[in-house]
Amino acid sequence: MNLPVIRESTLIQASHHIIQWLEESKQNVDDFIDDSVEAFCVVSLDGTILRGNRRFASLYDTDMERVRGRQLKEIFSRERWRLFKKKLQGADARSDGTSHTEFELAVDLPEHATTLMMLWSVSAFYSGDGHHTRFFAVSGRDLTEARACENRYSSLYANIPLGILEINADFIISDHFSAYAEVLLDCEDLPGQSLWDLLFRPALAHLPEHERARLGAIRNVFGTSADEFDLLSKPEQLQLSAESGGRTLGLSLAPIFSQGKVARLLVILEERTHLC
């Protein structure tokens, strides 16, 4: 038995195994990048694509192999490409030592007659050749659907003839309210205001005793469970004084739970003066 030969052969086999293992390991990491839902690519300063993942290649209606060598500017209008190029240059020239920049910019896909709103992240890095050749890692998240959703909500809040607003346990109005809420409450600067002071306190004076108790009970809804909230007697209509406009408002309260307890309230006000 030639032990030195066997030993060397075993060493070679072990080396081969580790190389195969490393190759597979690297492929696993590459697959993560390739299969990401975010578009990812690496480009040179002139915008030539050196690598793109599957999502990025789909912006070009092609595959990962064929997107290499294409130009990043192909998916932007001329004006948007000027802006993107400036961001590339800016990512490299940052004086604070970081090289990362983030911005929103739409992608134009004429073949699909569509525009995608993307959140781009660009960071510069250097090659390993000692010549400091610059490259840029670019990732893009599609915000189109999220923006459409925001627009739908914005449209709802802007146009619906209801006063919709959100308050916390101190009755402080949040940033989320409909445009008509300002009309019904006759106040143009709602965020941070107390809805108790704006609406409920003035209404108290015009309520019969049993209704006053119901209005006062609103203060007790915070911290209750769903069942407890449902059992509480809540007012459905508020009468405002002549000084406050002499109006009648319908009132609905919807709880917003956190960890099973009422943490915030969605307040919905409806003009009912014309019905009285």
């Binding site: 080396s15 190759e23 690496v42 192999e65 290499r68 000692g130 010549h131 050749t133």
Partner: protein, 200 residues
């Protein structure tokens, strides 16, 4: 069609470049079953990433370390294999493509190794490795004084292209400069893309 004429003797870096170029061309001819593979006269496509993938092999000898690479896109290699095996493209799986390109480097690396050993220079080769062409960004070396670097296109009869690359890290310049190779002279342009020599 190539014709053998009086061999030319090359020396030093020229000999090493020529040997490696011929080995890679012959490797692709053999592996791709395509005697028409040549180095076209047109320049390289823009780099440094010459293909989505690269196959890499490493040779070590007392006078130099050699890294051989072939950059490829899998759809090109897949088409080559489909032609060789007379199979539809869908039958050619990724694993077969990668094995095909690994074997190409095995053939080329083996050819270089055999020649070195024939000249009394012991040499060992690694396993060939498949990795992303993109990795070239991090591994490329330009103009290092102890390195000889060469990238060149390889064109097949069906006009499909690969890019081959070599990097020689010189350990012993005396040994490298003393290196001799009798390069076979072929028809002009058969193996050339730089116009500097008739065949290389």
């Amino acid at each position: 069609m190539q014709t053998e004429t009086t061999p030319s003797v090359l020396e030093g870096q020229d000999a090493i470049r020529a040997l490696i170029r011929v080995s890679l061309v012959e490797g692709l001819r053999q592996r791709g079953k395509d005697e028409g593979v040549l180095i076209p006269p047109e320049p390289l496509p823009p780099g440094p990433v010459y293909g989505h993938w690269q196959s890499v092999i490493f040779l070590l000898s007392p006078i130099m370390r050699i890294t051989l690479k072939v950059f490829f896109d899998s759809h090109v290699s897949r088409a080559q294999l489909a032609r060789i095996f007379h199979r539809p493209l869908a039958d050619i799986k990724d694993a077969l493509v990668y094995d095909h390109m690994r074997e190409l480097l095995n053939i080329a690396g083996g050819s270089v190794k055999r020649f070195l050993e024939g000249e009394g220079i012991p040499a060992g080769t690694s396993l060939p490795l498949i990795t992303r062409g993109f990795d070239e960004i991090f591994f490329s070396v330009a103009n290092r004084k102890d390195s000889i670097v060469d990238y060149f296109p390889l064109r097949c009869t069906d006009d499909s292209q690969f890019v081959a690359g070599m990097r020689v890290d010189v350990i012993d310049w005396k040994g490298v400069n003393a290196f001799r190779w009798n390069a076979p002279q072929t028809e002009a342009g058969a193996l050339s893309n730089d116009g500097g020599m008739d065949f290389l």
